[in-house]
C-alpha cells in the first residue's frame, strides 16, 4: 500500500486537532503512514491543491467538500469524506460596542440567541433610520458554517443578511485586527480566534456555534474520490489513525500533551487551545467563563462518523442562501459525499451517538425540525417568514 509520503493540507485551527495529534503524536506512524502536514493560508488554496492532486487529502470546511463535489462556485471535483475532524467549534464574537447596544435592546437573556437575534434586528433598524453604515460581520468563506450560522441567526431575527448587513470574507488571522480597528462589528470563526479577541479585550463572545445549531459537521478529512478509490488501504489506515487520535485527544489526562501539540502547529499559547478542547471559554475580558461540552466535539458521541444528514443540511444552506438551485439530483450527490461506510470499514464499529444528539440531527435553535427529504418545505418556511427575494445569483 506504499504511496510514499502523503501530503495533507491544513489550516492552523484547533479543529484540525485529530489530524495534528494523529501525525505529531505517532498515530499515523503506528499505521505505517508517512505524512507531511502542509500548512496553508487560505481555504481556496487547500481546495485547489486538493483538486489538482498536490495534496492527497486535507483538513477542509465541510461545506467546501459539498460545493466542490457539486461544482458550485468552482470546478467540479468529487470529494469523499470518510472522517469528521470536528463538530461545532465556532463562535460569534462582537465588539464591546455592539455588545452594549445589543444588551441595551434585549428583551431577556442576551445569551439566548432568540433574544440576541431580535436585539440585532433592532440595532440594524436603528442604523437604517439614522442612515448609518450597515453593520459588518466577518466570516471565513462563502461555503462555510461561519457564513451559514451568522445568516441563520440573523434570519431568525428577521434580518436579510444580503440586504440589511454586510457579510465579508476574512481570513481567520485577520479577524481580530479587523475587529480592533472597527472594520467589522463582529465575526463568526473557529478556535482559537474568538479567544484571542477576548484576551485582547476587543471582543465579546456572544454565542457558541453549538447554541445556534447543536450539531453540525464543521471540518472534515477530505480526499478526492478518485484518489480514495485508488488507495482504499491507505485511506482506511489513515482513518484508523485519526479515530485513535480523536479518542486520545478528548481524554482529560491527555489535555496537556494534546494542547501542546496543537499549540506548536498553530503558534499560539497552549492554554488557549485547551479552552476550546474542553469547552470552557472565557467570553468576556473581565474573565466571565461559559462552559458547554458541545462546544467542539472531536471524537465522542459519534462525532467522527460522517452523517449524510449533515451533508443534506449543508446543501439546504447552499440553496437557502441562493448559492445553487434545489434539485433532487444535487441533494443525492451532496449526501453521497459523506461516507459512513468508509468510516465503518476502517474503524470496524459504528460508535454510539450518545445522549444529547438532537432529534433531527442538527438542533437549530429556532424553526422547524430539519428533514433531508423536505428541503423545499424547510426553505419555504423561512421564505414565508421573511418575505423577500433571494438576492444571491451564482456567476459562472
Amino acid at each position: 500500500m506504499s504511496t510514499g509520503k502523503l501530503r495533507i493540507g491544513y489550516i492552523p485551527l484547533v479543529d484540525a486537532a485529530a489530524l495534528i495529534v494523529a501525525v505529531d503524536l505517532g498515530f499515523t506512524a503506528a499505521e505505517n503512514l508517512e505524512v507531511e502536514l502542509v500548512r496553508e493560508v487560505s481555504w481556496s488554496n487547500v481546495r485547489d491543491k486538493l483538486n489538482l492532486g498536490l495534496f492527497d487529502a486535507a483538513h477542509l470546511l465541510a461545506p467546501v467538500a459539498v460545493s466542490s463535489s457539486l461544482g458550485i462556485g468552482h470546478v467540479r471535483v468529487p470529494i469523499v469524506v470518510p472522517f469528521n475532524l470536528g463538530l461545532n467549534g465556532n463562535a460569534i464574537t462582537v465588539s464591546p460596542r455592539l455588545f452594549a447596544a445589543l444588551s441595551g435592546l434585549a428583551d431577556g437573556d442576551i445569551a439566548d440567541p432568540k433574544v440576541s437575534a431580535v436585539a440585532l434586528a433592532r440595532v440594524v433598524a436603528e442604523c437604517k433610520s439614522r442612515n448609518a453604515e450597515p453593520l459588518t460581520f466577518g466570516m471565513t468563506f462563502p461555503f462555510s458554517h461561519h457564513n451559514y450560522q451568522l445568516r441563520y441567526w440573523m434570519g431568525a431575527g428577521g434580518i436579510d443578511p444580503d440586504e440589511d448587513v454586510r457579510l465579508v470574507v476574512l481570513p481567520p488571522p485577520y479577524m481580530v485586527e479587523s475587529l480592533t480597528n472597527g472594520h467589522v462589528d463582529g465575526f463568526c470563526v473557529g478556535a482559537p480566534w474568538n479567544s484571542v479577541a477576548v484576551d485582547a479585550g476587543i471582543g465579546r463572545i456572544l454565542h457558541f456555534g453549538c447554541e445556534i445549531q447543536a450539531r453540525v459537521t464543521e471540518k472534515v478529512f477530505a480526499a478526492r474520490e478518485r484518489w480514495a478509490t485508488e488507495h482504499p488501504d491507505v485511506l482506511a489506515a489513515f482513518v484508523r489513525a485519526l479515530a485513535a487520535a480523536a479518542t486520545f485527544a478528548e481524554q482529560p489526562a491527555n489535555l496537556a500533551a494534546v494542547s501542546a501539540a496543537i499549540a506548536t502547529r498553530l503558534t499560539v499559547d497552549s492554554e488557549v487551545v485547551g479552552r476550546a478542547i474542553t469547552g470552557n471559554l472565557k467570553v468576556a475580558a473581565d474573565g466571565l467563563v461559559r462552559a458547554d461540552d458541545r462546544y467542539l466535539m472531536i471524537g465522542r458521541n459519534g462525532a467522527a462518523r460522517p452523517d449524510p444528514v449533515q451533508a443534506a443540511w449543508i446543501y439546504a444552506q447552499i440553496v437557502r442562501w441562493g448559492q445553487a438551485p434545489l434539485s433532487d439530483e444535487s441533494l443525492a450527490l451532496a449526501q453521497a459525499v459523506f461516507r459512513p461506510d468508509l468510516y465503518d470499514a476502517a474503524v470496524g464499529v459504528s460508535p454510539p451517538l450518545g445522549p444529547g444528539r438532537p432529534a433531527d440531527g442538527i438542533g437549530g435553535f429556532i424553526g422547524p425540525d430539519f428533514t433531508a427529504t423536505e428541503i423545499a418545505g424547510y426553505i419555504a418556511f423561512w421564505r414565508d417568514k421573511q418575505p423577500g427575494r433571494p438576492r444571491l445569483l451564482l456567476v459562472r
Binding site: 487560505s42 488554496n45 485547489d48 462556485g73 468552482h74 462563502p142
Partner: protein, 240 residues
Amino acid sequence: MTKAQECLAFACTVRVSGEPPEFFALAETRKGSDSSGPGSQPQGGSRDSSLKIAIVDESPIRAAILEDGLREAGFTQVERIAETHNLLARVYAMDPDVILIDLESPSRDMLEQMFQMSRAVKRPVAMFVDQSDTASIQAAVDAGVSAYIVGGLKKERITSILDLCISRFNAFSRLQTELDRAKDALDERKVIDRAKGVLMKAKKFSEEEAYALMRKTAMNENKKIVDIAQSVLTAAEMFK
C-alpha cells in the same frame, strides 16, 4: 517564437508532473467553455494593452518584478494593491479586468467572495479555470499564483498574462533560492573559519594545516567539510 510562446514553453518546462488528467476529465463536465482547444497557443497579437490588471501580492519585490514584466509586454494599466485590508472595496474601486494574486496571501479567500454575485459587484468574476487551462492552472499553482478574470473576458486574452506571471513568479523563486543558497554558503564559510581557528589554537596549526586536516577527515569519512567543522566546534564547546 513570440514572447508569450517563450513564456509558455518556459512554464511547461518548469511544471512538475502531477495528476492533471483527472482534473482535466472532470473539468470537461463544465458547461460554457469556449471554442479554443487544449492545444491552442496564446497569440502574441491578441494582447490587449488596454486591459486593466490588478496585482495582489504581499511581496513588494515580486510584485515589482511582475509589474515590470507586464509593462514590458505592453500592458500599461497595471496596479498593485498593496494593502489587503478591505480588499474587495479596493478591487471594486479599481475595477480591473484581471486580478493576479499570490497564493501565499490569505486574502485570496476574500476574492472568492466575488464568485457570489452581490449588489456591490459590477461585473461577474470567474477564476482562470477551464478544460483548456489545466496545464496553465497547474503551472500557476506550482508557481504560487492565481488569476481571476472579470467581466466575462475571453480567456485567450489573458493566457499571455498568466504565462508571463508564471515565469516571473518562477524567476522570483529561483532568485530566492539562489539568495538562500548564497546565505547558506556564507554561513558554511563562517563555520569552517571558526573550526579552523579552534584547530590552529589547539594544535598550533597554521591556517592551511587546519584546513587540510578537516578536508582529509571529510574525505576519509565521506562527509562535507562543513559537517566536520561543525563537529570540531561541538567538540570544542564540550571541552571548554
